[in-house]
Structures are given as structure tokens and as C-alpha cells.
């Protein structure tokens, strides 16, 4: 959720105003100059009216060299960008034969399957020779080869649904499937930032479309309640069915879908769910199974799972995975299945091979390595960008990370300057984003090495300084011995950071820290933990970067959080703690403070309970050595009356708990949870690790409902809260005990503590 600072908004608006004014000025003279010329359109209305392509003519064309740059190689980690030049003021661009080798930070090559692959390519070529490039026929006619049926079974198995169906293009998958599933008398509730293919599919279906605020389950619930109660417009008949459409990773925001909560809302209101995993399938999740795996949602609960093969699998086309009945219905009714040429067989083979590599069925562990690499690369790159002071959107683990640019002049400046220094980035502006929120978008790939990323970061940092897009203060690097500072100044978390906009500090003259020491957090944590607990084998080795640090209940376990994730889960095995790859601080709870009584029904009845406003728990070591815990609401960073971040969940319904004053709010009394957890079927909720920036302010943890809690609609849903443990040398037991007590659990081992590094 971006909040545009006033000054930036003003300068951006001014820039656009200038562009529009000059555009109209030029249009005016163009009209005068052309008045004498005879038009060859006699009697025809112009193919596009003046205002329709004003944006293209007067704004886009000036910077069109930043878009559609041709490349002359595979879109791998490095690629050859073809140089172009213009003789007519950028109106047309001519290709030259010169190319320049650039670092590719723009392609959706998440797993690195875009280039030739030792396992995939020979098989693809073999299929090409066997089946040719096309079948020249639809799937229901002569376009149904063995490969197609094989891939359908494989996809179904991979995503965890009973059946699947393929389409030759991702865009068509959405736009042709939605009209089959729903028609007149149905309601589509769509996220406000859904892809155009979903929008077109919804429009083509004839169903009524309502939009809910991006990634906001509370608003989704409001919309659903209002619509179910009101029925169809004018006739007020009940809706035939309701489909809620969301995406796994929003490609322009880099945000993960708030799936567990959205699923809970959908289940409560009997709405069907349609999940578009175009960017997330293969790219996130422990075994690459997408957001469901990452966020711990059972794929069986999602009615329709859609995805594409264009991104992670380096091919083309898309799929729908659903129940056998739905797939059967689609195969007999979907026009894209009945009329369209079937997916090209070599492309099908590419997906089969790529999925096999991901699953480890090629007999190597390359797939697992790729998945670890993309995660590590993404989190490294994101945290480094944030440290440099860029305004980076999106969640951890997401390989898509937009950097906000805002001003229109910064779009070409950023793009051209990066290209000049051999880094190819994508800049996005209107109409793909709102006019004022132009951004650059980085897509990370598993094929990039650490050196590549560092090179990219260096260039981006330099260019960022040059054009002034480091809207946040540069983060200072901390010395390891500063680990144990008590009561250190608060450092915003990622999300808070985004919410708490402040004045641009792009002109910050301070040189960036040596950000390329990527592991400094980890190494500091190692040192700190080892020192605090006398554990000497606690070493984070770079090559084993996501590694398990501590297990739940272990006496000497640490809770440390470094560049972890703000939201993740580990499939369905969160209970046993046997998942060796992650550290997990499972806990749970809804934090609804008794002091901030305005934050919803803390009475915690059996209905939907408290939708808590995010808050921070502060675990402090008190002077007498006896640990006590206090809860405090987050004081604002700046004495500006800015609405705090949880407003995006409450959208005005809940009063912000953040006081609008610059001083620290006095710590309210002890934390009280709205519902004691023992009444839940599941006794484990999670605390997943913090949104980075830990070393200064102790340990930050995000509280999040565990999947099994989410499934229980009556349980309080906690969007995200932050737990901060200032004393990083505090023992895990203490944290566990504290949490158990607060959650109303009888024993501390019911709380699982996990941390993701």
C-alpha cells in the first residue's frame, strides 16, 4: 500500500501538468499547420480520436525507447540488448546491429528456465522434431498429443488438484475461462489490482463485477455481505454464484495475496475462489507450488487455480487446475479449448521438463537449488534495496519488487541511465499503474549469481542517487556489538516503512553503506547468539542460507530474525516442527488490546471475533532480571498525523491505535487476547519472522494466523501484527512461556517458535 507524500504528489502532478500543457500546445499548432492539408480520410472518422492517443503521442513517444527494447539472446541473467537510435525525435526507432550485454532485471525468468537448460532443452528439441512446432488443430480435434495429456496430469499433481486443463496462452486462459464459469446473474468480486486478462474475462462473462480494495479481506467481507444481502441489482434476486478472483503475486506491486484471510472470508460467505498464480507458481513456496504452499493454504480449498507457464517455467501458455467435474465441464464448453490451436508441443515439453526439474524427478537437486536461489536472491536484493533507502513495494519472498519513481521525468532517467551502465530494468507507468505511481520493476531470477546482483545493486544505487529516488533515509550499518542495545530507536518494518511516508530524502548526500556485505545481519546474529548462549556451533553459512536455527522448545534455541519473510508457511506440516528447513515461531493469537477499546469487538464472542488492529508486542527485559512483557502500540516515527498502516485493513472502521503525536505512547497494560486459544481447534498459530531490519531494534516478529486457524472462520483473524523482542539475548523459553501464557495455552511447547533466515 503506497501512500504518496504530499510534496512528491505535488511535483508529480506539476510535471504531468506541464507535459499535458505542452502536449496540447503542440496539438494546437499541429492543427493550425495541418488545416490546409487535405486529409485522405474523407468521410471516415479518424481511427483514433485526438484525445484517445494524446497520451501516446505526447507523452509515451518521448520516452518510447525505454519500452519494448529488443533483445538478441535468451532472456537469461545477462542478455544482449539491441541498440536503437532515432532520427525523428523518438517518433520511430531504428534497430542497429550493435548490441550491449546487460544484466537482466526485467524478465519473468524466475527459475532461470529461459535459457538453454541441460535437462529441458534436449527434450524440447526432441519433441520439436517429433511433433513439429504446431498441431494446426484444436485440442478437441487433432491437437491433443500425448504430451498435452501428460502435462495436464503433471500440472494437476504439481499444484495439488485432481485435474487440469491447458491453454496456449496465459491471457486467454483467464479471459476465456471466466465466462464459462459464471454468467448473467452471477457476481464476480475482483481485487482492484487484478490483471487486465481477468478484467476482460469478467467483462466478457456478462456477470456483475464488483471490486474490493486491493488485498483487503475486511473490505471483501463488506462487499460480500452487502451483495449477498442486496442480491442482484434492480431485481434483488439472490446471486446465482459468487466468484472471488485474486492473484497470488500482484505483478505491479510485488505483493503476495493475503490468501489465508481471503479464503476464510470466502468460505464464510460460500463464495468460490479463483486464484491466478501467473507470477507465483514455481517462483515461491518451498517446493515451488506457489502462494498456497507459501502461505499454508490447502489447494483443495481454492476452487479454481489458474497459472501460466510463461514465467517460472520459461515456456508459454497457461493452465486451470480444479476438480474433475469443473475440468470436464471446461473441456466440453470452453471456446479456447474447442477453437484455439492447441499449445505448441515443444512448449508443452518444456513445461513438463521444467516441472520435473522443480520436483526433483530429473534425478538431481537442481530444482530445489533453483528454488532456494530465487528466494535467497529475492530477499537479498529486496533488503539491500531497502537499506539503500529506496521505496520498495511488495512482500519478502516475492521475486517482483517495484521501486517507486513517481515523477514522470524519473522514468526515462532511471531506465536510460541503468541501461547505459548495462543494467536492464523495466519501468512502468500509466496505464499499467495509476498516473502518479510510476515505478521501476525489478524481477529477480534464480539464474543470477550474487555478483550479478551486487553489480545490479551498485548501478541502481548510483542511479538512484543521481535522480533522487531514495525516498527513505539510508540505513546505517550496525556494528555487531551494538546488538544488545536496549530500548534502541525504533526502526520501521517494511510495511510500516511504506505506511509512514515522510519527506523524500533523495538528496541525501551520505554515501550508501557497503550494502554488498549481504550477510552482515546474519553474521551479527551469529555472533550475538553465540555470545549470549555460549553456543559455538551456531554458524550461518552463506550457501545454506535459509537454514534452521532453532527448534521449538529447544532450550538453547535462539529467536533471531534477519532478512526473513513477513509471511510464509510451510505447507501443511506446521504442527510437528519437523520441517527442517525453516525456523518457525509458531504462536498465534489475536492481539486486541483492552486499552484500545475502539479496535473492534474485543468481547470476543463466538462470531467473527476481533479483527485486531496490528500492534506491536514489546518484550522487554526488566531491571530485576525477571522478564516481563508489555504490549505497546507503535508510536509514530514522525510527528505527522499520518494514519497508521493498519488503516488499510480497517479502512476507517477501526480507529488507528497510533497516537498522532511525536512522543512515545505510554505502554498500555498487559496484552490481552480477544479469544483464548484453547477454545480453538488448533493450538498453534505462527509467529513468522520479521520484515527485516532487526539489528537496531531487537527482534521483530510478525504474528500471523496459522493455516489451521484460518480455516476456522470463527477464529479471530489476525492480519499481521508485530512482536518486538528488544532484548535479543532473551531466551527462547521465556518468549515461549510468555506467548503461551498470553495465548491461554497450558504448556509452552504448544507454541512453536520459528524464524526464517
Amino acid at each position: 500500500m503506497v501512500r504518496l507524500p504530499y510534496l512528491t504528489a505535488l511535483t508529480t502532478l506539476f510535471s504531468y501538468g506541464l507535459l499535458f500543457a505542452f502536449g496540447h500546445f503542440r496539438d494546437f499548432f499541429r492543427r493550425i499547420l495541418d488545416a490546409g492539408k487535405s486529409s485522405n480520410l474523407k468521410g471516415y472518422a479518424p481511427i483514433c480520436l485526438g484525445y484517445e492517443d494524446f497520451y501516446t503521442r505526447r507523452l509515451y513517444l518521448r520516452i518510447q525507447d525505454c519500452f519494448g527494447r529488443p533483445i538478441a539472446s535468451a532472456p537469461d541473467a545477462w542478455f544482449d540488448v539491441v541498440e536503437r537510435h532515432s532520427n525523428d525525435g523518438n517518433k520511430t526507432l531504428q534497430r542497429t546491429t550493435k548490441t550491449s550485454k546487460c544484466l537482466n532485471l526485467g524478465s519473468y525468468n524466475y527459475l532461470g528456465f529461459a535459457a538453454a537448460d541441460e535437462y529441458c532443452t534436449p527434450r524440447v528439441i526432441e519433441s520439436l522434431k517429433k511433433y513439429s512446432a504446431s498441431t494446426c488443430s484444436a485440442r478437441v480435434d487433432g491437437g491433443n498429443t500425448k504430451l498435452h495429456t501428460e502435462l495436464e496430469e503433471l500440472v494437476a499433481r504439481f499444484v495439488g488438484k485432481p485435474a487440469a486443463i491447458l491453454f496456449g496462452m496465459g491471457y486467454v486462459t483467464n479471459s476465456a475461462i471466466i465466462p464459462i464459469l459464471i454468467g448473467k446473474g452471477g457476481l464476480i468480486v475482483s481485487d482492484s489490482l487484478n490483471h487486465i486478462s481477468i478484467v476482460n474475462g469478467a467483462r466478457g462473462s456478462g456477470a456483475t463485477v464488483r471490486v474490493f480494495q486491493h488485498n483487503n479481506p475486511a473490505h471483501l467481507e463488506d462487499v460480500l455481505r452487502e451483495q449477498i444481502a442486496g442480491g442482484q441489482p434492480r431485481t434483488h434476486r439472490p446471486w446465482k454464484k459468487i466468484i472471488v478472483i485474486v492473484e497470488g503475486i500482484y505483478s505491479m506491486e510485488g505483493e503476495l495475496c493475503n490468501l489465508p484471510e481471503i479464503m476464510a472470508v470466502c468460505k464464510k460467505y460460500k463464495a468460490y475462489t479463483y486464484l491466478d498464480e501467473a507470477h507465483s507458481i514455481g517462483a515461491v513456496g518451498k517446493t515451488g507450488r506457489g502462494v498456497c504452499e507459501l502461505l499454508g493454504v490447502d489447494p483443495a480449498d481454492v476452487d479454481i487455480m489458474m497459472g501460466t507457464f510463461t514465467k517460472s517455467f520459461g515456456s508459454c501458455g497457461g493452465y486451470i487446475a480444479a476438480s474433475k467435474e469443473i475440468i470436464h465441464h471446461l473441456k466440453h464448453a470452453c471456446p479456447a479449448h474447442i477453437y484455439a490451436t492447441s499449445m505448441s508441443p515443444p512448449a508443452v515439453q518444456q513445461v513438463i521438463s521444467a516441472i520435473k526439474v522443480v520436483l526433483g524427478e530429473d534425478g538431481s537437486n537442481r530444482g530445489a537449488k533453483k528454488l532456494a536461489q530465487i528466494r535467497e536472491n529475492s530477499n537479498f536484493f529486496r533488503s539491500e534495496l531497502q537499506k539503500m533507502g529506496f521505496e520498495v513495494l511488495g512482500d519478502n519472498d516475492s521475486p517482483v519488487m517495484p521501486i517507486m519513481l513517481y515523477n514522470p521525468a524519473k522514468i526515462p532517467a532511471f531506465s536510460r541511465e541503468c541501461l547505459r551502465q548495462n543494467v536492464a530494468v523495466v519501468t512502468v507507468a500509466f496505464p499499467a499503474t495509476p498516473l502518479l505511481l510510476a515505478r521501476a520493476r525489478i524481477c529477480i531470477s534464480a539464474s543470477q549469481s550474487r555478483e550479478d546482483l551486487i553489480k545490479g545493486l551498485e548501478v541502481i544505487s548510483k542511479v538512484g542517487d543521481l535522480i533522487g529516488i531514495k525516498y527513505f533515509p539510508v540505513e546505517q550499518e550496525k556494528q555487531p556489538q551494538e546488538q544488545h542495545i536496549h530500548g534502541a530507536a525504533m526502526v520501521p518494518t517494511t510495511r510500516n516503512h511504506l505506511a509512514q511516508h515522510h519527506e523524500p530524502s533523495g538528496k541525501n548526500s551520505k554515501p550508501p553503506p557497503s550494502y554488498y556485505s549481504g550477510y552482515h545481519i546474519a553474521s551479527q546474529l551469529e555472533a550475538a547468539s553465540a555470545a549470549a548462549h555460549g553456543v559455538d556451533d551456531l554458524k550461518l553459512h552463506p550457501s545454506r542460507f535459509p537454514r534452521r536455527l532453532a527448534m521449538a522448545g529447544d532450550d538453547n534455541a535462539e529467536e533471531e530474525a534477519a532478512a526473513g519473510t513477513s509471511s510464509r508457511g510451510g505447507g501443511g506440516d506446521y504442527e510437528d516442527g519437523g520441517n527442517k528447513d525453516w525456523l518457525r515461531l509458531g504462536l498465534g493469537a489475536v492481539a486486541s488490546s483492552s486499552s484500545t477499546t475502539t479496535s473492534s469487538s474485543s468481547a470476543g464472542g463466538d462470531n467473527d471475533g476481533a479483527r485486531a488492529a496490528p500492534m506491536e508486542l514489546d518484550l522487554l527485559a526488566s531491571g530485576d532480571g525477571k522478564e516481563s512483557a508489555r504490549m505497546m502500540t507503535r508510536p509514530p516515527l514522525f510527528p505527522l498525523p499520518i494514519r497508521s498502516y493498519h488503516h488499510q485493513y480497517g479502512h476507517g472502521r477501526y480507529r488507528p491505535t497510533t497516537a498522532a503525536s511525536g512522543s512515545m505512547t505510554p505502554a498500555p497494560p498487559f496484552l490481552q487476547f480477544a479469544r483464548p486459544l484453547r477454545s480453538c481447534s488448533a493450538d498453534i498459530l505462527r509467529v513468522v519472522s520479521p520484515p527485516t531490519r532487526t539489528e537496531a531494534a531487537g527482534l521483530w516478529l510478525t504474528l500471523q494466523a496459522a493455516p489451521n486457524q484460518v480455516k476456522e472462520p470463527i477464529l479471530p483473524q489476525i492480519p499481521k501484527s508485530y512482536l518486538r523482542i528488544r532484548d535479543t539475548s532473551m531466551k527462547v523459553e521465556v518468549v515461549l512461556k510468555y506467548l503461551a501464557e498470553k495465548l491461554g495455552l497450558s504448556q509452552s511447547h504448544q507454541v512453536h517458535l520459528e524464524i526464517d533466515l
Binding site: 529488443p70 532443452t121 522434431k129 512446432a133 496462452m169 464459469l181 484455439a340 490451436t341 505448441s344
Partner: protein, 485 residues
């Protein structure tokens, strides 16, 4: 009237009394030389009442919004329909699974069959040169392009392919789409907006229908391939309508109709277009590389200059034996799409090896125009061979590589007709190893044209293949349709 009289009298009397009472003190009052009678007081009162009434809010029935509890109940009560209808008994037939390339001969369940189900018109499936160029492309560029055209998804072969196609057709420029059917349904909404007028053939296939629907323009259909109907529709739309010059008008036709095998008479359409000042959007998926002396499509076939047709789209999944589609026209038409066509802007670009295959296919066609003669002779052979099929008649054009056989006597329902032709197709495959298919219809398809058997002729078919399909079809249709003939 009589009834009302006493009331009137009583009121008058009461008023008289009131005014007398008011008059009493003011009876002699004189203001500026004017006698003021008491009635002014009454009038003053009346004005006060009126002002009072006007100042009050108008009456609105009290709103009673649903309480939270009521909403909860409504939400609990609401039961959605299932996401898909229950599976029908009959709909169990799965399409046959091919075990080799879909060339003129292919393998199904280990058996070699003659394939009339693939629109491989030029027989380019399995062409060595094309496969070689695709392999070269695959090795150099990988399979997918991993991005939309705007964001590093433009690969030099895409630009080469666009130039090649434009050069081949003699147009200034062309634009590639990543999927055949997405071409037309992205192109139409890119040019036609709300308020524009589109005159379209009623027999256009689903992708065109979808494009028409998404454009939100005013769509008027004319009778399938009926120029008189088109002329009268155009006349009706333009006559007396002074605003026509301000709105964009389009005629949307297919060159060879996928749903019937008819060929659109382009010469007449161009005449009408010029008379009524409409633009033409021509869907050439089945005619590009097929019609015309050198395979340049419908315009060449009718000898119409290509620039008379404003927008041409085609899928490359037929004659060119690759995938994707293109749109061509004037530079303005092409450039406009690069930023406003949803299927181009928001979709990953065509896999580069398919673009390479398209370039080689066009090269092949330029170098071997004789392949077109083969195709034509095969079509003619099939036409003569099938002319006396019992119960079926050819409804496609004599030059169309789609040979469309419809039932001579329809049962009256599309579903039963489809059942019949599907049975024929199945039996032909099962008994005689000839792979033919019925023209299936999606439930979303609004096309009302009759269904039938659709044979896709290829230049690669031999005479014996054609005689095989003819004899098989004749034998089986006579047995299946014996009740209907």
C-alpha cells in the same frame, strides 16, 4: 353540489366571523392613506404557515437498513449454485490422443491414420527446413520469451517476423500476437469503442464474437455471406444518419469462414465499403497462405489492392504450421495496437522459435508456390469425391481448404445434429483409420450456422488419402444416416 352547500356556507360564516373579529380593532386603521382591513392579518397568517411548511424538510419514508443480524441471516440462507453443471451422460468422448506429429498421416493408439483434422494446409508440419530453423532458434533463445513485448519480451526474430509478413503481404508494417485466437479479439476492442458501429457477418467464429462483445460497440449482424443483406444493413445504418461522419464504422468479415467454409466476396465488400465509407476488418486465419496466386490471401485472390483493406488479422496456426497471430495494415493501424491492444501489451510475447518457424514458413511459400497448386487440386479432388455422399452435402466454397459437409436434412436441433456427425466421425476413425472431426460448438458460441463434418485438406495429402476419406465417409454416413436420408 347541494351537499357541499351547507359546508361552504358554514365556512363562509366562520371566515366572516374571524375576519370580523380581526377587523374590529383594525377597522379604522389607515396606513399611508389606505384603509387596512382585517383580511391582511389572515393573509399574513397564511404566508407564515406557507413559510413554515416550506422550511420543513420534505417527508421521506424512514429508511430501515438491514441490521447486522439480518445481513448475517441472509448470508447464512444464501446458497450458491454449483460452479459447473452436473456432467451429462453423453459428454464422455475424449478426443483421440496423437502419438506423432499431426501431419497428413499421424498415429493414434499405435495405428497410422490419415489426418483430415489439422489445418496444415501447406503440409508444413514436419518440414525439415522449418524444424531446423526452430531448433536453431530454440538453442539460441530458449523456449519462452519470459516477458511481454514492452518489457524485454521483444526478441529480434519477432521484429524479423513482423517485417517478413508485412513484406510478404505488401503492407507497411505488421504486429505479432502470441496466440491465434487472441489476435482478433484484441484487435477489435483496440479500434472499436463504445458508440462505434460494427457490421459483422452472423457466421463469424467465437473469437470474433468475443472481440465484438468486448468492444462494447453497437454491433449489427448481416446474413451469412449475403452481400444483399450487407448492403441493406449498411444503407439502413447510414441513410439519414448525420452523425455517421463522426463515428467509426467497421465491417467485420472472415475471408474463409471457419464455421461454414464460405469465402467472403471481397470485391463486393470493398465496393460497399467505399460507397458507405466503412472500414474493413478481415479475419484471414484460414486464407492467409492459401488463397491467391501466391498465397497472399483474399485480397490477392480477388485482385483487390491490399491497402483497401484497413485491418487484416490472421492466426499462424494453420497454413504456416506454427502458432501465434498477426495483424497488419497501415503504419497507423499497427502502431496504435502497440499500446492499446490488450492481448499484445499484457501478454507474454510469442515464443521466439515459433516466430522463426513463421519466417521460414513464409520463405518456403515464397520459394515453392507449387505447393498451392497441390492444395487446390486436392481440394478439387475431395469436392468431386464427396459430391454424392449420402445424407451429407458440401456447403463450403470450391476453393476453401476447409471442406464442410452438413446434413442434407437437419433434425432441427443443433445438439442432435452434432451427435449424428460426431458418430460418423468417430466411426470413420475407428473403422477406416481416417481422422476426421465434427465442427463442435462451445456453449458460449452464438453462431447459428448448421454443424457438420469439417475436413481440413492439406497439400501433403495424396490422391489415395483423399479417395480413402471419400469412400469411408460415403459408406459410414449411409449406414449412420440411413434413418435420416
Amino acid at each position: 353540489m347541494d351537499m357541499a352547500l351547507p359546508i361552504v356556507n358554514a365556512t363562509t360564516a366562520a371566515l366572516a366571523r374571524v375576519s370580523a373579529a380581526f377587523n374590529a380593532p383594525l377597522a379604522r386603521a389607515v396606513v399611508f392613506g389606505v384603509h387596512i382591513d382585517g383580511h391582511l392579518v389572515v393573509e399574513g397568517l397564511l404566508i407564515a404557515v406557507i413559510v413554515f411548511q416550506l422550511s420543513r424538510k420534505s417527508y421521506k419514508p424512514p429508511k430501515k437498513p438491514l441490521s447486522e443480524k439480518e445481513v448475517d441471516e441472509l448470508c447464512d440462507e444464501w446458497e450458491p449454485e454449483p460452479l459447473c453443471p452436473p456432467i451429462k451422460e453423453r459428454s464422455h468422448i475424449d478426443p483421440p490422443i496423437l502419438e506423432s506429429a499431426a501431419g497428413p498421416h499421424t498415429t493414434i493408439e499405435g495405428k497410422e491414420v490419415v489426418n483430415f483434422a489439422s489445418a496444415n494446409y501447406l503440409g508444413l508440419i514436419g518440414n525439415e527446413k522449418i524444424i531446423d530453423s526452430s531448433v536453431g532458434s530454440l538453442e539460441k533463445y530458449g523456449v519462452g520469451s519470459c516477458g511481454p513485448r514492452g518489457f524485454y519480451g521483444t526478441i529480434d526474430v519477432h521484429l524479423d517476423c513482423e517485417a517478413k509478413i508485412a513484406n510478404f503481404l505488401g503492407t507497411p508494417d505488421s504486429i505479432l500476437y502470441s496466440y491465434g485466437i487472441s489476435t482478433i479479439f484484441s484487435v477489435i476492442p483496440a479500434f472499436c469503442k463504445k458508440g462505434d458501429i460494427i457490421v459483422a457477418d452472423e457466421g463469424v467464429h467465437w473469437a470474433v464474437q468475443n472481440g465484438l462483445y468486448l468492444s462494447r460497440s453497437t454491433v449489427v449482424h448481416f446474413k451469412h455471406n449475403d452481400m444483399a443483406s450487407l448492403a441493406s444493413t449498411l444503407e439502413k445504418l447510414t441513410r439519414g444518419n448525420k452523425r455517421t461522419e463522426k463515428i467509426r464504422r467497421y465491417i467485420v468479415v472472415e475471408s474463409i469462414y471457419q464455421n461454414s467454409g464460405q469465402i467472403a466476396p471481397l470485391d463486393e465488400i470493398v465496393k460497399l465499403k467505399e460507397k458507405y465509407l466503412f472500414r474493413v476488418i478481415l479475419e484471414e486465419s484460414h486464407s492467409f497462405g492459401v488463397l491467391g496466386k501466391s498465397g497472399r490471401g483474399l485480397a490477392e485472390h480477388y485482385g483487390v489492392p491490399i491497402d483497401k483493406i484497413d485491418i487484416i488479422t490472421a492466426g499462424m496456426g494453420n497454413a504456416l504450421a506454427t502458432d501465434g497471430g498477426f495483424c497488419t495494415g497501415s503504419a497507423r493501424v499497427v502502431d496504435h495496437q502497440r499500446l492499446s491492444s490488450a492481448g499484445y501489451v499484457f501478454s507474454a510475447s510469442l515464443p521466439p522459435y515459433l516466430a522463426s518457424a513463421a519466417v521460414s514458413a513464409v520463405n518456403y511459400l515464397e520459394e515453392n508456390p507449387s505447393v498451392l497448386a497441390n492444395l487446390r487440386s486436392n481440394v478439387a479432388l475431395l469436392h468431386t469425391g464427396l459430391s454424392d455422399t449420402p445424407g451429407l452435402e458440401i456447403s463450403s466454397h470450391a476453393l476453401s481448404p476447409i471442406v464442410f459437409l452438413k446434413l442434407k436434412k437437419s433434425t432441427g436441433s443443433l445438439a442432435t445434429d452434432l451427435d449424428l456427425v460426431e458418430t460418423i466421425a468417430e466411426q470413420v476413425l475407428k473403422e477406416d483409420s481416417v481422422f476426421i472431426v465434427a465442427s463442435k460448438r462451445s456453449t458460449l458460441d452464438r453462431c447459428k450456422l448448421p454443424v457438420g463434418i469439417r475436413l481440413f485438406v492439406s497439400a501433403g495429402h495424396t490422391e489415395s488419402d483423399i479417395s480413402e476419406v471419400c469412400s469411408s465417409l460415403k459408406r459410414i454416413s449411409s449406414s449412420v444416416l440411413s434413418d435420416h436420408v
